[in-house]
């Protein structure tokens, strides 16, 4: 009971801030409209919006996720320079290969995060994910496949697992 109230409160606050930021009008009529609609939406959907029920865990996850983003942005810039170089190179030096590796992740949320991160980083795209945490990855060159095959779990999987408290570093 208490946990669902917490999820409801978090989604209500976030959605109401979202409403204010998007409307930018501070007249009482519009603020009241915002309260009504955000109350309805967060009452109906707070179970989907806040999948983590423990307040402490949610804060920890949010902080670790924010710390993960700069590293990811750096990897994305590297990815783009690499792909752009391969596209513009006259001889087009690509050597595609498909690999599979075990990530040791358990929850759907962490596997989704890892899948998206893999798709955004250098020369790799997630093709499919098995429910037991096996990832199938298409790599544009053989050197892109190496970081995933070096150790189990690979660096990116352990970073994502650390965000959600599934793998200790």
């Amino acid at each position: 009971m208490k946990k669902s109230v917490f999820g409801f409160a978090i989604s209500f606050i976030v959605l109401y801030l979202f409403w204010i930021l998007n409307s930018g009008i501070f007249e009482p009529f519009y603020l009241a409209l915002g309260v009504i609609s955000t109350f309805t939406v967060s009452y109906l959907f707070h179970k989907i919006f806040v999948p983590i029920k423990e307040p402490k865990l949610l804060l920890r996850t949010a902080i670790r996720f924010l710390l993960y983003i700069p590293w990811l942005v750096y990897q994305i810039i590297l990815a783009n320079l690499d792909v752009a170089k391969r596209v513009l190179h006259p001889s087009m030096p690509i050597d595609p290969v498909v690999i599979s590796f075990q990530s040791n992740l358990k929850s759907e949320l962490s596997m989704t995060t890892l899948g998206n991160s893999i798709t955004l980083t250098p020369g790799t795209i997630t093709i499919d994910i098995d429910p037991d945490g096996t990832f199938y990855v298409h790599c544009l060159g053989r050197e892109h496949a190496e970081p995933f095959l070096e150790d189990v779990p690979c660096e990116m999987a352990s970073r994502v697992g650390y965000i959600f408290g599934e793998i200790e570093r």
């Binding site: 930021l21 752009a84 050597d95 498909v98 998206n116 199938y136 298409h138």
Partner: protein, 113 residues
């Protein structure tokens, strides 16, 4: 003076973003199969659109419009990979062949090294 510097930074962001978008489009034409084409379109488009939006955010300054631009940036970052994944997965499920250096191969989950 500050206005000029700001404009220069904004223009640099916009030009680099557009260059990445052009590179992505060129990659779609040049790469041999569906899988490697998605590498070009997925990554270059995400970074290109992000750079253009960052340029617009700098141009706009701190405003309610900036908040909306930041939200668009977040949505692009979360939805871009999902679209790429679904296209690649559909291509794999319908039995599309993959280009490798040795030739075209039909791969399945059991045949991976």
């Amino acid at each position: 003076m500050i206005e000029i510097i700001k404009s220069v930074i904004v223009v640099i962001f916009l030009i680099v973003g557009s260059l990445f978008l052009i590179t992505g489009s060129l990659g779609i034409v040049r790469f041999p199969d569906t899988y490697s084409r998605m590498h070009a379109s997925g990554k270059c488009d995400t970074l290109g659109i992000s750079l253009i939006l960052v340029g617009l955010i700098i141009y706009q300054g701190l405003d309610f419009v900036t908040v909306k631009l930041i939200l668009i940036l977040l949505f692009v970052f979360f939805t871009g990979p999902v679209a790429v994944n679904s296209i690649i997965r559909a291509s794999f499920k319908s039995g599309n062949k993959m280009w490798t250096v040795k030739g075209w191969v039909q791969w399945s989950k059991e045949r991976i090294e």
